[in-house]
């Protein structure tokens, strides 16, 4: 595998993000506004600093909110959302003819998007921090920080796998890529990952059921780990579950891709 061509893809993709600067700025503004809603909601709930609800105190819940800003930038930022359109328009053919691995190509483009979004998220978080002056829970246990980092890597891989699977919908339903993306990535993933509210407001039974899905490992579980809300053995269990999901998604992805390739007829070209 030649790394240099992927480095070139990374650089080109990074520069491309600046081609539509206003779009990018607007997208970031939207992210900040979503944080406003969640921040003030929880700030209102925890207006009494001594209050404990759902196992959170004021410091931990507001750290969770700021964590959403970072993890969304790292895990949820992706260019691979364009794959569905590429397949339905027949533009996939252009990439298939190139000496490049399709999955690695899009993963590299995703990485460049994540790098840029993360840079902006850091700046936004600093500004929001100065404006809102929230209390912040700083994790100092080195073991937990390492597990948090490992979980984030797995979260990036799980999200990539889910996104690609959903984006392959147009192989079978060319006009429905946008709708599938809205349902699975815009609604189900968003809510069940804990990006809108922490999942531990749900009753224990629902939480247990959700643990068998890949969604909590995208955001909720890494943040629970960072906040130290779960035991070390549960953290390790989460790392194992994330790894299993990565393997399941890679296998499923290869299977669906092979089926899709047999179905692909380059309509529109």
């Amino acid at each position: 595998m030649s790394l240099s061509k992927y480095i070139s893809v990374f650089k080109i993709s990074f520069v491309q993000e600046f081609a539509y600067r206003l779009n990018f700025v607007m997208w970031r503004v939207r992210n900040v506004m979503q944080i406003f809603l969640v921040f003030f909601l929880w700030d209102s709930v925890f207006s009494d600093p001594t209050r404990q609800v759902f196992g959170y105190n004021r410091d931990k819940i507001l750290t969770y909110v700021f964590g959403i800003l970072f993890i969304r930038a790292l895990v949820f930022s992706a260019r691979a959302v364009d794959i569905a359109g590429e397949i339905s328009r027949g533009d996939l053919t252009n990439v298939l003819l190139k000496p490049i691995n399709y999955f690695r190509y899009w993963f590299t483009r995703d990485l460049s998007s994540k790098a840029l979004n993360l840079c902006f998220a850091v700046i936004e978080a600093a500004i929001l921090f100065l404006i809102l002056k929230p209390p912040f829970f700083l994790q100092t246990d080195f073991r937990i920080l390492i597990l948090f980092a490992v979980l984030l890597v797995f979260a990036v891989l799980i999200f990539f796998g889910l996104l690609l699977l959903i984006n392959m919908t147009p192989f079978w339903a060319p006009e429905s890529g946008w709708a599938a993306q809205f349902l699975f990535m815009g609604i189900i993933t968003e809510f069940l990952s804990g990006a809108v509210f922490p999942l531990d407001i749900f009753p224990a039974t629902i939480q247990k059921v959700l643990q068998f899905s890949p969604f909590p490992y995208l955001l909720f579980f890494p943040l629970q780990t960072y906040l130290g809300k779960i035991s070390l053995s549960s953290m390790l269990g989460g790392v194992l579950a994330s790894a299993v999901w990565v393997i399941i998604l890679i296998l499923t992805l290869n299977y669906v891709w092979a089926k899709g390739m047999r179905r692909y007829a380059a309509e529109g070209r």
């Binding site: 206003l22 779009n23 607007m26 997208w27 503004v29 939207r30 506004m33 979503q34 406003f36 809603l37 003030f40 909601l41 700030d43 209102s44 709930v45 609800v53 759902f54 339903a173 006009e175 429905s176 946008w178 709708a179 599938a180 809205f182 349902l183 815009g186 609604i187 189900i188 809510f191 809108v196 509210f197 407001i201 749900f202 009753p203």
Partner: protein
């Protein structure tokens, strides 16, 4: 005047029917999209119920009141999306110069751009939402006067929503940017998903008067609960009239900036 209204109603019906036929060509995608919308509603509803079970109150409002705020937000959001879905499709018209064809037709270009394609998916969700509002509203035991306040303030909210959409269209002509502007409008109104009382100053003041999300969404529900005076209602109407006047002037100004590029 009546003749003119009747002509515009006919045109609106024709355009809405065409929009419905377009919807029938993408049934599978539309069903998935509708499922997504219902799921989002369901997730937020469940969240509010579990949250308020744990906290008992939110900014001083109990569970039933918070649900009523949430349903009111959804009603205004869904009705404005149903009426103004065409705004989301406006950009290609301006970018391609196809807007020329709209300008030459013997109907208002603003009417065509704003209401040229009612959304069937949103229409489907309006009746159950109204029923839910009636059921939730009954638990709050409102007086007839407060119910009347609620209804007229909902109309005022739709006037404000119209003003927002006209402003987005106008900005679209000047900057060619619609997609994110309309989504920022949606994000702003989303801040009204919960009563604006949860926000601190100066954000609360901004959301009440400058970007009147509070007047648009929180105020009708507050009036229903009996927390708004007659003076407050008059002020909100004045703001509605002011907003629509500014938006219409902005539209006139934006039209002078249309270059007909690419046509």
């Amino acid at each position: 005047m009546l003749k003119k209204i009747s002509r515009y109603l006919k045109v609106w019906w024709l355009m809405s029917r065409n929009s419905f036929l377009g919807f029938l060509t993408q049934r599978f995608g539309a069903v998935i999209f509708l499922t997504g919308k219902l799921l989002r509603f369901g997730f937020f509803f469940i969240f509010i119920v579990f949250l308020l079970k744990g906290t008992k109150t939110l900014a001083g409002f109990n569970l039933n009141q918070t649900i009523f705020f949430f349903l009111t937000f959804n009603l205004i959001d869904v009705v404005s999306q149903f009426l103004f879905r065409e705004v989301y499709r406006f950009r290609p018209l301006v970018v391609s110069g196809g807007f020329d064809l709209v300008l030459t037709k013997p109907i208002s270009a603003l009417f065509r751009s704003l209401m040229g394609g009612a959304d069937v998916l949103d229409l489907i969700t309006i009746p159950p939402l109204v029923v839910a509002i009636i059921l939730a509203g009954r638990t709050l035991n409102p007086s007839i006067l407060h119910s009347a306040y609620y209804i007229v303030l909902i109309f005022n909210s739709l006037v404000l929503a119209t003003a927002f959409h006209i402003a987005v269209l106008s900005l679209g002509i000047i900057t060619l940017e619609i997609d994110h502007t309309i989504m920022i409008y949606r994000d702003l109104t989303n801040l009204g998903r919960f009563p604006v009382d949860i926000y601190k100053e100066p954000l609360k003041g901004i959301l009440t008067y400058l970007v009147p999300v509070g007047i648009m969404i929180t105020l009708p529900a507050k009036a229903f609960i009996g927390l708004v005076s007659f003076k407050g209602i008059l002020v909100s109407f004045a703001l509605g009239i002011l907003a629509i006047s500014i938006a219409l002037r902005f539209w006139d100004f934006a039209l002078t900036k249309y270059t007909s590029a690419s046509s």
